[in-house]
């Protein structure tokens, strides 16, 4: 192996490493989080990997909504002023893709982060 070839090999290796590092950097995903939106605008984001329970007070279109993150990776609607209470009855959300929807309040909680393996959810 000539000296020039060795340099080429080293440089190619560095190039490959750089490309890999760049790819990992641009594709990294943060931990699982709950994103609360009212009328499509983000009003709160909760990191569900944190161990402390937290209560969120969000203003919906109809009135206040109380959201509880239990500190064990789940989030649910504790109280809302909507007439049907569908959101309060919805099972706690914890996995990427899970949703809790309050139509009268125009509020959607979506779990985002690693592990969303499906394109769409039939529900």
């Amino acid at each position: 192996m000539k000296r020039g070839d060795r340099i080429t090999a080293v440089v190619l290796l560095i190039a490959a490493l750089l490309v890999t590092a760049f790819w990992i950097f641009t594709h990294r995903t943060p931990g699982i989080r709950a994103v609360v939106r009212v009328d499509g605008k983000v009003v709160a984001t909760v990191d569900l990997t944190l161990l402390e329970p937290r209560t969120l007070h969000v203003q919906g279109v109809l009135g206040p909504i109380v959201i509880l993150a239990d500190g064990k990776g789940s989030i649910r609607v504790e109280e809302a002023t909507c007439p049907d209470q569908v959101c309060v009855h919805t099972s706690p959300a914890h996995s990427p893709g899970d949703q809790i929807i309050c139509v009268p309040n125009h509020m959607v909680i979506t779990i985002e982060g690693r592990g969303t393996s499906i394109d769409a959810l039939a529900h």
Partner: protein, 341 residues
């Protein structure tokens, strides 16, 4: 010689970095938009094309379908047909007549025993229209059922009429699916073409890629919790789900869901959820939506017979979660259970 090698290597590094950046940059995330209408959520995710304009236009199309079909808006064609019940035929638009015709064809599959546009007065008895839920007396249900059969609607290409003055139609069981039909027709013609569009209208899906994608991964929601029970793979499709878990009320530990079995007048209890996957064909958004109710009100045995009859008519497959929670699939779909992943 050495300098040349270093130069070439340096070019490779820069080239590789630039290429990876371009690959990353050329496939940005979808533009997601959320809208609230028809008493539910419309979410549109578009990749490629003029995504912002596409999302806005899809919303406008859905609003148009709401104005046409709404049970509550006084100017809607549904409201006009209902207001004239028992009187003269009402002139309707060609689009509305076509929708009624498609829904009537699904009713005809089993003579309106499992899907019936005219069941609205019975749904109202249970409080599903006002959300003031109650359990009606058996005698009250029977009396109301007498004028809620699928034969109430007299239809021509330009007119509609309800025979009994107390009869009412509600297109809630097909309107969302029909909106997906209207959206798909628009997406096919829009220029420049988007790469992918995912429309979720209250749980009814349109998966569009202009026929490019053959492996859409469609998650089936667990009817008794969050998360999915599994997924199916499909090409572009309409996906309609009827479930007992989003709109329901409970009394004394019993669940009463919003889908009324037209043969009894009581909320259907045979299944927890039905997902109908339909090929992209005219009106199959609406038809799939209505078929969801047919299968939701049918036993496993009846489901098999029905499916045999409609194979090759645009229904790709059906995922069933029955009342005991047992999952199964009919047709050319394979349900990959979440636990088997």
């Amino acid at each position: 010689m050495r300098k040349t090698t270093v130069l070439i290597a340096a070019l490779i590094v820069v080239g590789a970095a630039a290429a990876s950046f371009l690959v990353w940059h050329a496939s940005p995330g979808p533009l997601a938009s959320t809208y609230f209408l028809m008493d539910t959520v419309l979410t549109v995710k578009t990749v490629g094309g003029d995504a912002a304009a596409i999302n806005e236009h899809l919303h406008a199309l859905a609003s148009g379908v709401e104005r046409m079909t709404s049970l509550y808006e006084p100017g809607s064609e549904t409201a006009m047909v209902n207001a004239a019940a028992g009187k003269e035929p009402v002139a309707v638009s060609p689009e509305y007549a076509a929708l009624l015709k498609a829904a009537a064809a699904v009713e005809a599959i089993d003579q309106g025993k499992t899907f019936d546009m005219a069941i609205a007065p019975v749904s109202s008895l249970w409080g599903f229209t006002t959300k003031d839920f109650r359990i009606p007396a058996a005698e009250e249900i029977l009396r109301t059922l007498a004028y809620c059969d699928a034969d109430q609607l007299e239809l021509t290409d330009t007119t509609a009429r309800l025979r009994d003055p107390r009869a009412r139609i509600d297109l809630g069981g097909v309107a969302k699916g029909y909106a997906l039909d209207v959206m798909e027709a628009y997406l096919r013609t829009v220029k420049p073409q988007p790469e992918q569009v995912i429309v979720d209208f209250g749980g009814n899906l349109l998966l569009y890629s202009g026929g490019q994608k053959t492996d859409w991964k469609i998650g089936i929601r667990d009817p008794r919790g969050q998360g999915i029970i599994g997924y199916v793979l499909s090409g572009d499709a309409f996906v309609a789900t009827s479930g007992d878990y989003e709109r329901y009320f409970e009394r004394d530990g019993r669940r009463y869901c919003h889908i009324i079995d037209p043969s009894t007048g009581y909320p259907a209890t045979l299944n927890q959820s039905i997902t109908v996957i339909s090929a992209i064909q005219p009106m199959h958004g609406a038809i799939g939506d209505a078929l969801g109710k047919v299968f939701f009100c049918s036993s496993a045995e009846a489901q098999h017979t029905l499916f045999q009859e409609m194979q090759g008519k645009g229904v790709v497959g059906i995922v069933v979660v029955d009342a005991s929670g047992t999952r199964s699939a009919l047709g050319q779909v394979t349900l990959v259970l979440a636990s088997a992943q």
